[in-house]
Symmetry: C2
């Protein structure tokens, strides 16, 4: 099962594809769509849509997941974010992909075992799960992969051992968390 | 020139098509897409998109205009509104229609001559301009038509006499403003 995770934003939209077979996840592809500040909003939305349509037609994912923000930002930011989200969702909906939404807390909890994990913790867990420790994911790309992993993991929290959380990761990788 | 105006919302999205030839505007069609409260958000966005795509392929408008809200609502409302806006914009952008955005004040000013006009004033002016006094437009439909008229009027404010504003409308139609 191939899952496309998207972390939408009107300045940068990350996406990540994982292939989940049984208890194994493999990285299929990921990137961040960078959207010029100078551009007007509609062309940015069109770009998000077009890139994701290309990703969908190329990799034919089975499922689509997106980050659903908590409501805390200012109204203008939320309007822009809602627009970016919808542009991404329309790419999925127009290709018959169901849209799943997760809060940042759900994503962090699923990937690290801790709903209040730091960005660094999330990134380390992603690199570990996807055996990609030699990859330097951009921030929004890492978030998108975390969303895809969270979605892949949604039915499996009970019976899986692979996501044992940050504590056990630290124990196993002391050299990677020295900051 | 056919103009499609849209007043997007996640519960109801109004749209209105006008045909503008010289100084004359004709009503081509209008309606409000009602979106069930019970429905999840993604299917509502898909419905907005699909209906507008059908409107666009049926009537082949030349231009597209949308209401750009002022930022005053709560963040959750703005996120939902942003999503509805983007679903509507994607329908236009995917059919090579440029997207113009107007604030409510610009729309009111353009249609009634007064940026602080009431909804009732806007509606009366629309009915008058479109010779549709026998039509009872739904609220969101009237707003969408006002946006289309505002867009059609954008280059013509200087040299047109047909939008002489609410004051002269009242003078000419005393029986219609008696409330």
């Amino acid at each position: 099962m191939i899952i496309l995770g998207v972390d939408p934003g009107s300045r940068a939209t990350g996406y990540g594809l994982i292939d989940r077979e049984g208890d194994e996840e493999k990285l299929v592809g990921s990137n961040t769509i960078r959207l010029g500040d100078a551009d007007d909003h509609p062309p940015r939305l069109k770009r998000i849509y077009d890139v994701l349509v290309e990703v969908i037609t190329t990799h034919d994912p089975d499922e689509f997941a997106i980050e659903m923000p908590v409501y805390g930002q200012n109204p203008q930011s939320m309007l822009k974010l809602g627009r970016a989200q919808a542009a991404a969702m329309m790419a999925a909906l127009n290709h018959d992909l169901p849209v799943a939404q997760y809060t940042p807390k759900e994503v962090k909890k699923s990937v690290t075992g801790n709903g209040n994990a730091s960005k660094k913790q999330v990134r380390f867990m992603i690199e570990s799960i996807l055996s990609a420790s030699d990859t330097e994911f951009a921030h929004d790309t890492a978030d998108a992969l975390a969303i895809a992993l969270c979605h892949g993991n949604r039915d499996a929290h009970e019976d899986r051992q692979s996501y044992t959380g940050w504590a056990s990761f630290v124990e196993a990788n002391p050299d990677r968390v020295s900051e």
